[in-house]
């Protein structure tokens, strides 16, 4: 009877111990994990691969609205367009073209429409050496002035490429100059940055660090 009593006592103590452990685990008395405030998912505009601009080439490819490029819905084919110039010799844009910014080249060195556009055919371009590329195939025209950049672009060192680096395994796409640069104002426009990194610890997340002044 004493042996049984001892066994029972030991078992009871063990039961109590294990129950205690179970309760402790259920209540998470040790190592309650820090609950991180959920970090908002990033806006998909920051992960899309679209180019900075919608160029005429892209509109033709995607069968978009190209009506802005039909010059002769407004202009007359037989009547060449005369440029209006102000006192300083700058082009005065008519209100129909007020969406354009004449910002190509510094010091107004490049402010004449017919430096690039063909005055005899507004739906074409012209280079200084007498070639007449189509509006949608303007890159060689850009290259006629920006030679080194054009070389880099042809070699793939300037501009955007996507698809396959291994040309044997699949196609690749090289973006034209106007996919990123507005020909009337070619500087790449500033844009809003994607959200920066969040700090690991919630307390640090609540109070972001002071910016160090370099």
């Amino acid at each position: 009877m004493t042996r049984n009593g001892n066994t029972n006592r030991v078992l009871a103590v063990l039961t109590l111990l294990f129950s205690g452990l179970a309760v402790a685990f259920a209540l998470r008395l040790w190592g309650r994990p820090v609950v991180l405030p959920p970090i908002p998912l990033v806006d998909p505009i920051f992960t899309n691969t679209a180019t900075a601009r919608v160029s005429l080439g892209l509109l033709l490819q995607t069968h978009g609205d190209t009506s802005d490029y039909d010059c002769y819905t407004c202009h007359d084919k037989k009547e060449p367009v005369k440029l209006k110039l102000d006192d300083q010799g700058n082009v005065v844009l008519p209100k129909e073209h007020s969406d354009l910014v004449m910002g190509h080249g510094s010091h107004n060195r490049n402010n004449n429409c017919y430096n690039c556009h063909d005055e005899s055919n507004l739906e074409a371009l012209q280079t200084r050496d007498g070639r007449h590329p189509k509006l949608a195939e303007s890159s060689p025209l850009c290259g006629s002035c920006h030679g080194p950049t054009y070389d880099d672009w042809e070699a793939g060192a300037h501009g955007r490429i996507s698809g396959y680096w291994d040309r044997k395994l699949g196609p690749f796409v090289r973006q034209n100059c106007v996919a990123c640069h507005d020909p009337h104002k070619p500087a790449f426009p500033p844009r809003a940055p994607a959200p920066g990194p969040h700090l690991l610890h919630p307390i640090a997340q609540a109070a972001p660090p002071q910016e160090r002044n370099p």
Binding site: M1, N4, T7, N8, L11, A12, L14, T15, L16, L17, F18, S19, A22, F25, A26, P33, L36, P38, I39, L41, V42, F46, T47, N48, T49, T51, A52, D152, A155, G156, A157, H158, G159, R160, I161, S162, G163, Y164, W165, D166, K168, L169, G170, F172, C180, F188, P190, R191, A192, P193, A194, P195, G196, P197, H198, L200, P208, P209, E211, P214
Partner: protein, 318 residues
């Protein structure tokens, strides 16, 4: 005939001689509740399945797996991912291509610090969203210095680029002489013939020696189970690449192994709005990176003096 005297309670109980029914029942009740308590106290072990399975525990080292064994491993991973995320992925084991050594070139003149590469990388490589794990760290550097101690990566202006700064994204540099590989005590990370330093997430023990050894702060540790929304999981996966990681293992940039070993450009390159990122096979003289290294002013391999010899080059246009 002589019979042994019968016990007063009747037939002998199975619990032994001299034990009453009452005490037997009491003992069994205590024993049963003890077992139940034991089971309850082992509750934390229920989560063990998230960390290891018998198959994973018995799995051989990556380099010793036969193709048949590898196929089984890939199936196990597909099963586990489907169980956890409800999406059936396509997991491949892509080997390095012959005659290919990857190199990355980054144009410091063109980079505007928009951080699109950071988030395209997260989306492509199934990194944890909370807490955040990002392979690319974009440093904002003041003009006139290349000292990374003067950099800031928590910049948050309305528009980038800002006047007086340039931007330098830093990710795994895929060193020719990688310090992280040397310190790994279990050979869970190594350099492949195409130059990519890879991690076998199933072999990593999470000691973080490699994180300490990396001079570029390129390695990331999964402090918790990574959280990835189901609808943002990229199902195109590679064993050494972007398959979901477990808690307690290291990860880092692997040049998008699931894309680049299939001939495609990495995700960070394709999303870059300015085309500042260039990637290719440096052994092919017609590749973009070979052209850049030949003709451009390539200023650094970052922290060149350490002798790590990165395959990630920074260059200027002018």
């Amino acid at each position: 005939m002589a019979y042994p005297p019968q016990s007063p309670a009747g037939a002998p109980t199975p619990g032994g001689e001299g034990q009453s029914r009452r005490s037997f029942l009491r003992t069994s009740a205590v024993f049963a509740s003890g077992l139940a308590a034991l089971a309850a106290s082992l509750a934390p072990l229920r989560h063990l399945e998230d960390y290891t399975s018998l198959e994973l525990f018995m799995q051989k080292y990556y380099k010793e797996l036969t193709p048949e064994e590898m196929a089984k491993v890939l199936q196990r991973i597909e099963r586990e991912v489907e169980r956890q995320y409800g999406v059936r992925p396509h997991v491949r084991d892509l080997k390095p291509m012959n005659g290919v050594e990857f190199a990355y070139a980054h144009n410091l003149t063109r980079c505007i610090g928009c951080r699109k590469c950071v988030h395209a990388c997260v989306a492509e490589n199934n990194q944890s969203r909370t807490p955040e794990i990002q392979y690319i760290r974009v440093l904002r550097m003041p003009h006139g210095t290349l000292d990374v101690d003067k950099s800031e990566h928590h910049y948050d202006p309305k528009l980038v680029p800002e006047k007086g700064y340039f931007y330098m994204p830093v990710q795994c540099q895929q060193c020719k002489n990688p310090p992280c590989v040397k310190v790994c005590p279990v050979h869970a990370t190594w350099q492949e013939t195409d130059g990519i330093t890879v991690i076998d997430y199933d072999w990593c023990i999470g000691c973080r020696y490699c994180e300490a050894a990396c001079p570029y702060w390129a390695r990331r540790f999964n402090w918790t189970k990574p959280s990835i929304p189901k609808d943002r999981l990229n199902p195109d996966m590679a064993y050494l690449g972007n398959r979901p990681r477990r808690q307690g293992v290291m990860e880092k940039c692997h040049f998008c192994i699931q894309r680049t070993r299939a001939g495609r450009y990495p995700a960070c390159l394709e999303v870059c709005p300015t085309g500042a990122r260039k990637f290719g096979n440096v052994l092919d003289p017609n590749s973009e990176v070979a052209y850049i290294l030949r003709t451009k002013r390539v200023f650094i391999q970052l922290k060149e003096d350490l002798g790590t010899s990165p395959r990630f080059f920074y260059y200027f246009d002018v």
